[in-house]
């Protein structure tokens, strides 16, 4: 039986235009939807598969605003069993703060008799792109960690994880308990079923406060990149543009 903890994060859906708050400390949430990172969606799927295969459980955890219950409910519907919200204003937190808070929950749960054999996270969050919460968490807990892998399998107290390395597919094998950060692409996240949605509504989300004052994110301010100068030249419409396209290829020297 493998109990898996999956850490997710409420992030702005950046498929639309991104605007910043007036104080330049965050993304203006009034004009965007919110979601979880693609990497984390894959981590959730792998967690559910792992738990199903071993008769274990999946617990979700997020460190974020109260509105993150929306992402927890949506994700619970995918086959997860429990959820924990550590309520905090995201702008006050750096990756070290987030890792410390997750570690605090894990230690308290373990002291109360609930152990997490495997902790899964996304390799990086879609908004902050820090690439370090999983590693800092592993250091805080004294557990081994593998990063940027695409698949995980649990058997005989070991985690086997695979991902692309510079010379080919790399395989890691390490003892549980362990931490792994996932990339997108190794698994296809499932869609929630009606039964899953109904079950998710009934789950009591455990809400906690921060365990310590945050150290912060070292952020000075956010900026929007300068807009690319729009100098688009329309070469034509439909198949009639083929000649102009071929001329462009010749001009750029890309035709062999």
């Amino acid at each position: 039986m493998t109990n898996v903890l999956v850490c997710i994060k409420r992030v702005p859906d950046s498929s639309g235009e991104v605007l910043l708050t007036d104080d330049q400390q965050g993304v203006d949430g009034r004009y965007v939807g919110f979601t979880v990172s693609n990497h984390e969606s894959c981590a959730v799927e792998l967690a559910v598969q792992t738990a199903e295969a071993t008769g274990g459980t999946v617990t979700l955890l997020t460190v974020g605003p109260s509105e993150a219950t929306e992402q927890l409910r949506d994700t619970l519907a995918l086959g997860c069993h429990a959820a924990v919200l550590v309520e905090a204003e995201p702008a006050r937190l750096g990756p070290a703060d987030v890792a410390r808070e997750i570690a605090h929950v894990v230690r308290e749960k373990e002291a109360a008799g609930t152990t997490y054999d495997l902790i899964l996270l996304g390799n990086d969050a879609a908004d902050s792109g820090d690439f370090q919460v999983g590693i800092r968490l592993a250091h805080a807990l004294g557990r081994p960690v593998v990063n940027g892998v695409s698949t995980v399998e649990v058997a005989d107290g070991h985690l086997t994880a695979r991902g692309d390395g510079p010379e080919g597919e790399e395989t890691y094998s390490l003892p549980l308990p362990a931490v792994a950060t996932l990339l997108e692409g190794g698994v296809e996240p499932r869609y929630p079923t009606l039964k899953g949605r109904m079950a998710a509504k009934k789950v009591q989300i455990e809400t906690r406060a921060l365990s310590a004052e945050p150290a912060g994110a070292s952020r000075v301010r956010l900026l929007l990149p300068p807009p690319a100068p729009s100098t688009v030249e329309v070469l034509g419409e439909g198949p009639e543009a083929a000649g102009a396209v071929a001329d462009l290829f010749a001009k750029l020297g890309v035709t062999r």
Binding site: D127, H139, E184, V220, L223, P225, E233, L252
Partner: protein
């Protein structure tokens, strides 16, 4: 002292590591000529060639970490080596490429030292305070981040700096070191590496021409002209996330925030609207020729050149035109 972790490919420094050296040289110059040391971990195919290459790109010295601990990759072990070399050299800045390896090793180092780390920096602004700009929200926004603890640890985003060799530079001095690595740092190490088959993601990242396709392809069988044009131009195929999500093409062809970031001489996105996540992966292209039925699609308005039309009509006509001109 600035310490730069170098990754190698086929015995030479990776392109993004050389970009990182260029960033470090600019930083060193701002600091009045701070020395740059490169760090290489594990097996090296041709020491003299690598020393010459790294010297040409600004490194005065290479610290080469050797030993059984580095025969297969472990992020924690590499960080242990980097930590030991930093301590012995008194380096105040530690940087690496914003690659999976670079970000991973630096994150381990930052965790060990309990200092901040900035991932994917694109620029810096003075030294006191030392502030870097880095990419966030998949490149849709930038963050200015203060790194006022020592060492300052940051990775450098790919394609944000140009490789710039120094004419007449001497080879870097080579110093072999054997850092101690704890057993606990070797628990999560690579136990096997599969044979590298045709690595589409590498060819995609290095291709001079990329022909891209999105939802406009219409289905898994809608990529015939895309692949044919890519072959005619000696390029690679790159697709949007929706294409891989729908299972039309494999994930390693995905361009974007959670796929490959490309910087070809020419990118030809066909039937791709140009969502921010996709733009994050292709914004470094030198020239973009967009083909789309919607002239107001973001990709069309951001491109250098555009053709308004259905990719299934335009691409065959372009292929026919190229063949009529003798391109094969």
């Amino acid at each position: 002292m600035i310490l730069v972790l170098i990754e190698t490919e086929n015995g030479a420094a990776s392109e993004i590591s050389l970009e990182t050296l260029a960033f470090a040289r600019s930083l060193a110059a701002e600091g009045g000529g701070i020395a740059i040391r490169a760090v290489v971990v594990g097996a090296v195919e041709n020491r003299d060639a690598l020393a010459a290459e790294l010297g040409t790109h600004g490194a005065a010295e290479v610290r080469h970490a050797v030993g059984e601990a580095f025969t297969s990759y472990s992020g924690a072990a590499w960080a242990a080596a980097l930590q030991a070399i930093r301590e012995s050299t008194g380096s105040v800045v530690v940087t690496a490429a914003g690659s999976p390896r670079g970000n991973e090793v630096l994150a381990h180092l930052a965790a060990r030292l309990d200092v901040p780390m900035a991932a994917n920096a694109t620029a810096f602004h003075g030294l006191a305070p030392f502030v870097v700009t880095r990419q966030v929200v998949g490149g849709a926004a930038l963050e200015e981040m203060k790194l006022d603890q020592r060492p300052a640890i940051f990775s450098v985003a790919g394609h944000s700096w140009s490789v710039s060799p120094v004419e007449g530079a001497s080879p870097a001095a080579w110093v072999e070191v054997t850092p101690e690595v704890a057993e606990s740092d070797l628990v999560a190490r690579v136990v096997s590496t599969g044979t590298k088959e045709v690595d589409h993601s590498d060819s995609l990242k290095s291709a001079k021409v990329v022909v891209g396709a999105g939802r406009g392809a219409g289905g898994a069988d809608g990529f015939g002209a895309v692949t044919e044009l890519a072959e005619l131009l000696g390029g690679a195929v790159g697709v949007s996330r929706v294409v891989t999500s729908l299972g039309w093409r494999p994930h390693h062809e995905q361009v974007g925030q959670t796929g490959s970031r490309i910087s070809p001489d020419l990118y030809i996105p066909c039937g791709i609207s140009g969502a921010i996540q996709h733009w994050a992966g292709c914004a470094s292209s030198k020239t973009i020729l967009a083909i789309n039925t919607d002239p107001e699609a973001p990709m069309m308005t951001k491109a250098n050149y555009a053709v308004v039309g259905d990719m299934h009509e335009v691409l065959p006509a372009v292929i026919e035109e190229l063949k009529s001109r003798g391109v094969s």
